[in-house]
Amino acid sequence: MTLLVDVFTVLTVAAGIVFFVAGTAGLIRFPDTSSRLHALTKADHLGLGLVVLGLLPRAESLGGVLRLVAIWGLVLASSAAAGPMLARLARRGARGG
């Protein structure tokens, strides 16, 4: 049982890291600011979500579970606010200059 949990954690956290790497690759490779925002938010959300998912079975209590989910939720909320703001600024910057 613990082995199974270990395997689950290792697999999901590793998958999460792959998406973080992909997000970083996108940040470097993508041609325009808004596409880079897609990379930074969408791939990294999934990466963080998978890391959180992998750590859930290791939480010591229900509070620990809620705390991990709350971290994911707060990151989602902050980038749901920051992403559109930066995209709007990038569009204006591209048009203005």
Partner: protein
């Protein structure tokens, strides 16, 4: 070890371009990233209290302050002072490198075993009745330092307000944000502050026994208070409001009163009566948190400015 070296490399890679940057805006952006990485360094040094403060104040509040300043200065006249010549820069570089190397040599030559006050702190922590040794030092053993520091914040607010032009005296602090009701930032500013309040109260509450405390809680509260103003859905109170001034002064005053109560009851300034130490400390910390939060928010906003239609 490898993690430490990676963090060190990243911090140096961010710090160097801060001092070499062409534009102030770039330098500030790099500085904010540097502050966040520095918080990692504090975790690696087993200073979680410091890490929380660094992330909240060193990166967060400083970032807001400096980005705002960089934006406002961007349209100003260029710096007219003559930059130092190449020979001068080289000389300064050699001097600073020499100083860094000397300081490094001192660190490598620190005495072993290191002198430490950890033993006396832990031997006497029972008298302070709190579990977090850093809080015990801040509120108990070095309480006078913390009191003076709270007073420094009040003085900084007074000094800042003194910079207000006469015409703007008594008005709301900071530059006026364009009012807004909709948009992504407005939505965040409506949803996030209540969550931030709960997190801040928690950080204050656990500060007695675990990493956390009034500075970290106050920094979060200040950020939550600033957010609706920055989004344009609320305006800061004018600095002439009596309640604002009372809240700023209340923390140091409560601390001083607790100190004098100690000298009457226990015969020493800031001595806590046995059995009530934790209760007194928590009461003072709650008032101090409110004071520090208001002071930090006002410090970020700056003095009231004449509305120049900008």
């Amino acid at each position: 070890m490898i993690a430490d070296l990676l963090i060190v490399a990243a911090i140096v890679a961010l710090a160097l371009p801060v001092v070499l940057a062409r534009s102030a805006f770039t330098a500030v952006a790099l500085f904010v990233a540097y502050g966040l990485l520095l918080a990692f360094a504090w975790v690696r040094l087993d200073a979680v209290d410091v890490a929380l403060t660094e992330a909240a104040i060193g990166a967060g509040l400083s970032g807001v302050l400096l980005l705002g300043a960089a934006r406002r200065l961007a349209g100003g006249p260029p710096v007219e002072d003559a930059p130092p010549g190449k020979a001068q820069v080289a000389l300064i570089g050699v001097g600073c490198a020499g100083l860094a190397v000397a300081l490094g040599a001192v660190i490598l030559a620190l005495p072993d075993p290191a002198p430490s006050l950890a033993e006396p702190v832990m031997a006497n922590i029972a008298a302070i009745e709190v579990g977090n040794p850093v809080t015990a030092v801040l509120m108990g053993f070095r309480g006078l330092d913390t009191l003076l520091e709270a007073a420094v914040l009040v003085l900084a607010v007074v000094a800042l307000w003194a910079l207000a032009p006469d015409a703007a005296w008594g008005a709301a602090p900071g530059w006026r944000q364009p009012p807004a009701t909709d948009g992504p930032l407005a939505l965040l500013a409506r949803v996030l502050p209540p969550i931030g309040v709960v997190v801040a109260v928690h950080i204050l509450w656990v500060g007695a026994d675990a990493p956390g405390g009034k500075f970290q809680a106050a920094a979060i509260l200040a950020a939550m208070w600033l957010l609706p103003w920055m989004a344009g859905i609320a305006a800061p109170p004018p600095i002439s409001r009596a309640w604002l001034r009372i809240v700023i002064a209340a923390g140091p005053v409560a601390f001083i009163l607790a100190g004098f109560a100690g000298s009457v009851l226990q015969g020493a300034f800031l001595a806590y009566p046995p059995g009530y130490a934790k209760a007194v400390i928590i009461a003072v910390e709650v008032v101090l948190t409110a004071s520090i939060a208001v002071a930090l928010a006002l410090l970020v906003l700056g003095p009231p400015a004449e509305d120049r239609g900008a």
